[in-house]
């Protein structure tokens, strides 16, 4: 903090004193993003500056951060899509299997009857 900028804040117009406080560090990185990388939209506003590289290589837990509704909606859509894909495949399979089992039983009965019919005249 050797060359940190200092700012003055007058706490109240009538106060006979002033408090000198250091300027807050920038909350956004000054490093340029890689080509083709969009800045994250609607982040939770972490006060710790970080590089774009760190953002793509680790996940950290937030300490009481606020969440945005759009993120919740996107997450809900994602989970709904996952289970929709799964249940669609499972239900389609179960329905087809029931049809096939019924067909299999019908065919087996028909074949057994036909064999029985064919066997009778010989005996």
């Amino acid at each position: 903090m050797g060359d940190a900028q200092l700012t003055t804040q007058v706490l109240a117009p009538e106060a006979p004193w002033v408090v000198i406080v250091p300027a807050a560090p920038p909350t956004t990185p000054s490093v340029a993003l890689p080509v083709g990388t969009a800045a994250p939209v609607g982040t939770t506003g972490s006060a710790v500056p970080e590089s774009p590289v760190a953002r793509t290589t680790e996940f950290r837990a937030v300490e009481g951060g606020n969440e945005m509704q759009s993120g919740t909606a996107l997450m809900t859509e994602a989970y709904a899509a996952i289970w929709l894909c799964t249940f669609a495949l499972v239900l389609a399979g179960v329905r087809k299997m029931k049809k096939l089992e019924a067909r299999l039983e019908g065919l087996a009965d028909e074949i057994a009857r036909a064999r029985e019919r064919d066997a009778k005249p010989r005996s």
Binding site: R60, G65, G71, A78, V90
Partner: protein, 238 residues
């Protein structure tokens, strides 16, 4: 349901029960225990099923590869059914990956899609397995079709290592949190959530492969009986 049939289904029902239990536990940990990610917020929770779904796609592709190679070597109906089931699971899991990834990216990158190497190779791989499934669905079930599909199943698996190492080889902006020197998950509950996600999707992929394989074997048995019925002079009423 006969007693023997019920007994033969017991392992499958056990697998389904384990999958359901793992799913409930995973959802509980993801939404009630794992903390919100510092930069992205709640949308990062997509990660706990997005990555395991990608792993499930790899599993499906591997099963398809094994079944296809076995079919080319031995030509059994079981190996063909296994390959077909693997391809269907790869498509299902691949669709999950391709839907959930862009939903996460909409928030994290500000856009749904970019022609990043890993995204592009994943899309190509899913299209290979879609081609396999469409081929099997619309071209009949003859020996030539089965062999052609088996060749596709073997060659299609070649894309899987390319997807996996795409980020390492060609860069791109796809996150590398848990591989290739990424920083990892910085909270034990995040790690637990991801572990349960992997467990759930492993069980789910196995259950789906099992169900689809049984279905294809059943189709084969019905076809064989229909053929027998025709030979006996019974009317083929469909």
């Amino acid at each position: 349901m006969t007693l023997s049939k019920r007994a033969s289904e017991t392992p499958f029902l056990g697998l389904l029960a384990a999958t359901a239990a793992s799913l409930v536990l995973a959802l509980q940990v993801i939404f009630l225990k794992a903390p919100t990610e510092a930069t992205m917020g709640i949308v990062q929770k997509i990660f706990y099923f997005h990555v395991p779904a990608a792993y499930g796609m790899y599993l499906g592709a591997f099963v398809c590869f094994l079944g296809s190679a076995a079919y080319l070597a031995r030509g059994t109906a079981g190996s063909d059914a296994l390959a077909r089931a693997g391809a269907e699971v790869a498509v299902t899991m691949g669709l999950m990956v391709l839907i959930t990834g862009p939903l996460w990216a909409a928030k994290a990158w500000g856009r749904y899609w970019t022609w990043d190497p890993r995204l592009t190779t994943s899309l190509l791989s899913v299209l290979v397995y879609v081609a396999y499934v469409v081929l099997r669905a619309f071209t009949g079930d003859g020996e030539a079709e089965r062999k052609f599909a088996a060749a596709l199943g073997v060659l299609g698996a070649a894309n899987i290592p390319i997807i996996h190492y795409a980020v390492k080889k060609w860069g791109g902006q796809h996150p590398q949190v848990i591989s290739n020197g990424g920083g990892g998950l910085r909270h034990p509950d995040m790690k637990l959530a991801l572990t349960l996600g992997f467990l759930t999707f492993t069980l789910l992929a196995l259950a789906l492969v099992w169900q689809r394989m049984r279905l294809h074997l059943l189709v084969g048995r019905v076809d064989a009986l229909e053929q027998e019925a025709v030979e006996l002079g019974l009317a083929g009423d469909g």
